[in-house]
């Protein structure tokens, strides 16, 4: 298992799903235990990756390289660098926690956990793949489980949300598919002289021929990729699938959606668009910064207008992904490091918020912000945990969100002064919607209806506490994560900014 650590991280959940398929439907406890075990192994491997990862080199590590389809030069090519390791950690952690958080699922248990494990495999694959074809396969493989997870186990408007998510994402990915084919035919493999899907070869500008020599064509390909990734992030105006999907999805699936899937968009831009088309990336700085600012402010204002807690958290994701875009648009070391760190932190913080919303929804069976009041006295422990998550989301110093947002602003202030100043407003609005919600739900006179609500359970605490510790620890000692990625990201900045 030590040799092919990445493959095991991807395929162990698949094995788990296959085993679950043969367990009798009625044995739900067995199914859940298998699922938890199948998600726990990748988590252990992720920790091993974290320990063994060499932080000093820009080289790809843990590489696995085999030929898949010879005639078309498709390779099974996995490897990680400082950009992918934090994402893999996040995926492994959230997947395991979400399986635990799904313990109370009672509808079609077998299908739920099998699909969840397949979803995990797809996500892991995306963050490991270095062959574009393989990347695309993993990217698409995630759609199927996600569609079913929203559509079968979702809320009242699940059907609409599921197909909307699917259509949006597929529209983005077919454009990415065409861009991929364009790369294939216009990149030569320096060793064989043939065409290649190898991303490492694609990143070397010396291998570009044909179409990729023409600026217009490069711009078109950049835009096709950007649209594909923008829908996933989601960048305004392609964000409309997100509130629907997040609200209708069951809690654990919302966590994965916000915590991991959104990161794939920005990961794709940093993994593929930036290094393969650095000139286009540099030329796209201003639009990217503007889109970032729009996301920050628009998301924040929309969040403020929500009365549904889950929808509020969903829109706060739109806002927080804006910071990632702004950091990426900065094109300097602080900015990009901040952006990737923000990706990681947003994953953990949003996961906490969604899990907290799930806790109250399981008890009260609604999420109307105005329908509660004074919950702090009824559920003090829950109130504290939720407040912790919400403060982290605001960017309270000492918690991880602060560090990454500060880095993003530090970076972008150097390149986009005006935009940064406007974007800083987002912090204020962010504090406003979060505190206002906190006030309406937890403070004020107690709502008599909820006199009997039990406080947060041990299982729920078990899902929240580990993330909470990470949020706190990353706030105090951010270098734990920043060390992982800075070498690779600084190298990326050199490539793009020249």
């Amino acid at each position: 298992m030590a040799d092919h650590i990445l493959s095991w991280m991807i395929f162990f959940p698949v094995i788990g799903a296959a085993v679950i398929a043969f367990v009798p439907r009625a044995k739900t406890e067995v199914i859940k235990t298998i699922a938890a075990a199948a998600a726990f192994v990748p988590l252990i491997l992720a920790v091993q990756l974290f320990i063994q990862f060499d932080r000093a080199t820009t080289d790809l590590q843990f590489v696995e390289h085999f030929t898949w389809i010879k005639t078309f030069n498709i390779e099974y090519f996995l490897g990680v660098d400082g950009l992918s390791v934090p994402m893999l950690l996040l995926t492994a952690l959230l997947s395991f926690i979400c399986i635990i958080a799904s313990w109370k699922i009672d509808k079609a248990v077998k299908g739920y956990f099998a699909l969840f494990l397949l979803l995990e495999a797809g996500m892991m694959g995306v963050f490991c793949a270095l062959d574009f074809f393989l990347f695309y396969v993993f990217w698409e493989v995630m759609l199927l489980p996600m569609y079913f997870l929203i559509g079968i186990w979702g809320g009242p408007r699940k059907e609409y949300a599921a197909i909307k998510f699917f259509l949006y994402t597929l529209a983005g990915s077919v454009l990415m598919l065409l861009a991929m084919i364009a790369f294939y035919y216009n990149v030569t493999d320096p060793v064989t002289g043939g065409h290649t899907f190898n991303m490492v070869h694609m990143m070397d500008q010396a291998n570009h021929t044909g179409l990729l020599d023409a600026n217009n064509a490069r711009f078109m390909i950049w835009m096709a990729l950007f649209l594909g990734f923008a829908i996933k992030v989601p960048i305004f105006p392609f964000h409309t699938w997100l509130p629907d999907a997040h609200v209708e999805a069951p809690t654990a699936v919302s966590v994965i959606l916000a915590g991991v899937l959104l990161k794939m968009g920005t990961y794709g831009i940093l993994r593929i668009s930036y290094p393969i088309l650095p000139d286009q990336a540099a030329a796209f700085m201003i639009p990217m910064a503007i889109l970032g600012v729009i996301n920050i402010l628009y998301g924040a204002f929309c969040a403020m207008a929500q009365t549904d807690m889950k929808k509020l958290v969903a829109y706060s994701s739109v806002s927080h992904m804006g910071y990632v875009l702004l950091g990426m648009a900065a094109m300097n070391e602080v900015g990009i490091n901040g952006a990737v760190f923000q990706m990681f932190n947003h994953g953990t913080i949003t996961a906490m918020m969604f899990l907290c919303v799930g806790v109250i929804y399981d008890r009260a069976h609604h999420r109307d912000i105005n329908g509660f009041g004074g919950l702090m006295t009824q559920m003090p422990l829950y109130g504290s945990v939720m407040s912790f998550a919400l403060f982290a989301a605001i960017g309270l110093p000492g918690l991880s969100g602060f560090v990454s947002e500060a880095m993003v602003f530090l970076g972008s202030f150097q390149t986009h002064r005006t935009f940064t100043i406007i974007a800083a407003l987002g912090i204020v609005i962010g504090a406003a919607y979060v505190l206002w919600m906190l006030q309406r739900v937890f403070l004020g006179p107690k709502n008599e209806k909820y006199d009997t609500l039990p406080d947060i359970s041990a299982r729920e605490m078990f899902t929240l506490v580990p993330i909470g510790i990470i949020v706190l620890y990353c706030g105090i000692r951010p270098m734990v994560v920043l060390d992982l990625m800075s070498t690779s990201l600084n190298h990326l900045v050199k490539v793009v900014a020249g």
């Binding site: 005639t71 698409e140 569609y147 699917f166 597929l170 529209a171 364009a182």
Partner: protein
């Protein structure tokens, strides 16, 4: 003075290349006789035809490693890589159709008549399709096309008592006769222009002499009308939804892959042999490109509105013709390989999707989307295979449909038809919507309490699995299947 040499009587060594179709045509006669002699015991013709299908498949597979084209009857028919590939495809499709017809209520129900003849007709049609893939002469083209068409008309009207089935048959025949006539006119013009009845002769004549571009364009349009009808290309596709909906589902399943692939075989052979040299004079690839865009867009948009699964799948099968035409008009070996590979993949997944409809129809007597509610929980394994087929038809990895579409798009991109690739890709997104309508009904819509039990016969389950497994396997390891398609193009006659 009669010269025996000029009669071109085939000797045994050349005849050996033609065993698969001979077996099928022989099985037709044997099944008819068997049906009568056994006093209409259906298992007799069924066994004869099934045995013939398997034998034919075995010989067809053995014939795949053909080294050089073999012709008999002069230039009339030829067995080359292309024909060998299509024969395997047809034998495979026929075998599966025969197998799942056996447990289908629509074919074998108590009130049905002439069940034995049904199997005999499948054998006849399969033999006809094989000859279609081998024809390289206008006489043979027309004869084989009509053989398949006439059999189709009869089969579409198999449910004699059903108004829908009879209507389908009549519609099919009127459309078919019309487009055959148009095509014949085109062929006669071409003969007048070139003085040749063979594809090769036409090619030589067109290459050597300068023909009037307008005349050539007229001929191409007329012949496209005839062949376009067979493959259900817009705007000659109107019959398809009605016929597929009206005909018994196993027959519709067969129509949507068999004759369609055979039509493509003819299309490929005729256009790649005879019409390739005149691309400079008449830009017919552009004409086909426009038709391909119309075909897929029209069919996809029409399918979105359907609530009858069979009708939806009928439109979907029209849409796939559009995708196939995209790569067909590239006029390259790679494009042709992509078309052949996609036809193979399409046959498997489309047959699978229709077969699921057959299986459900057995219990529910309905193809309406509303009756599909909760099938994912009422018959979990069969529904799971349907999900595989639908994802594959959409073109999502890790299914064979994705790989097939990938090769189509890759070739279109390489030949720098970017707009065509973009239209095709966006069409895939549209198609997702209606395919997922079926998935939605099966999994997301709650089951009503009084919903009838769905019992999928063992034979159907075996067939579904036999189609779903390759759909998945070819999505992960397709090198060997692609190699077959590549080889078919390499050993193609007259290229």
């Amino acid at each position: 003075m009669l010269n025996v040499e000029t009669l071109n009587i085939p000797d045994w060594s050349t005849f050996r290349a033609f065993i698969p179709e001979t077996v099928m045509l022989g099985a037709f006669l044997a099944a008819l006789l068997g049906d009568i002699l056994s006093r209409r015991r259906t298992w007799v013709p069924f066994s004869i035809v099934l045995l013939a299908c398997v034998t034919s498949l075995a010989y067809a597979v053995a014939g795949l490693d053909i080294e050089a084209p073999v012709s008999i009857l002069g230039q009339l028919v030829v067995v080359d890589g292309l024909a060998a590939f299509f024969r395997v495809l047809f034998a495979l499709v026929a075998t599966i159709t025969v197998l799942f017809s056996w447990s289908s209520e629509e074919i074998m129900g108590k009130t049905r008549e002439h069940k034995g003849e049904y199997y005999a007709l499948i054998a006849l049609m399969t033999g006809g399709m094989m000859v279609m893939a081998e024809a390289r002469d206008f006489v043979m083209l027309y004869l084989s096309l009509e053989l398949v068409s006439l059999t189709s008309y009869v089969m579409a009207g198999y449910m004699r008592g059903s108004l829908r089935s009879t209507e389908a048959s009549l519609k099919y025949m009127i459309f078919g006769a019309m487009s055959s006539g148009i095509m014949l006119f085109g062929m006669s013009l071409l003969y007048a222009l070139t003085g040749s009845m063979t594809f090769e002769g036409v090619r030589v004549a067109l290459t050597s002499g300068q023909a009037d571009p307008l005349a050539l364009l007229t001929i191409i349009v007329l012949i496209l009308a005839g062949l376009g009808y067979k493959i259900a290309m817009a705007p000659f596709h109107f019959w398809a939804p009605d016929v597929y909906e009206g005909a018994p589902t196993p027959i519709a399943a067969f129509f949507s892959v068999g004759p369609k692939a055979a039509g493509f075989a003819l299309l490929i052979r005729f256009f790649y042999t005879s019409m390739q040299p005149i691309v400079d004079q008449v830009d017919w690839p552009m004409l086909v490109a426009v038709l391909s865009v119309i075909t897929m867009t029209w069919a996809n948009l029409a399918a979105v509105r359907q609530n009858n699964v069979k009708r939806m799948l009928a439109f979907s099968s029209v849409a796939h013709v559009g995708y196939l035409l995209m790569a067909f008009l590239m006029l390259t070996d790679e494009g042709l390989q992509a078309v052949l590979f996609y036809l193979l993949v399409y046959s498997i997944m489309n047959l699978g999707a229709f077969l699921f409809v057959v299986a459900v129809n057995n219990s529910l007597k309905s193809e309406h989307l509303n009756d599909y509610a909760g099938l994912g929980f009422r018959t979990p394994w069969a529904a799971a295979t349907m999900v595989v087929f639908l994802f594959s038809l959409t073109g999502l990895p890790p299914t064979a449909g994705f790989i097939g579409k990938f090769y189509l798009f890759a070739e279109v991109m390489q030949q720098e038809w970017y707009w065509l690739a973009i239209v095709g890709a966006l069409n895939s997104v549209v198609s997702l919507f209606y395919y997922m309508k079926i998935v939605k009904a099966m999994y997301f819509t709650p089951v009503e309490d009084n919903a009838p039990v769905v019992r999928v016969p063992v034979m159907h389950m075996i067939c579904l699995a036999a189609l779903a497994v390759p759909t998945l396997v070819l999505g992960l390891s397709w090198g060997w299947a692609k190699a077959l398609a590549d080889r078919a193009v390499t050993v193609m006659a007259g290229m």
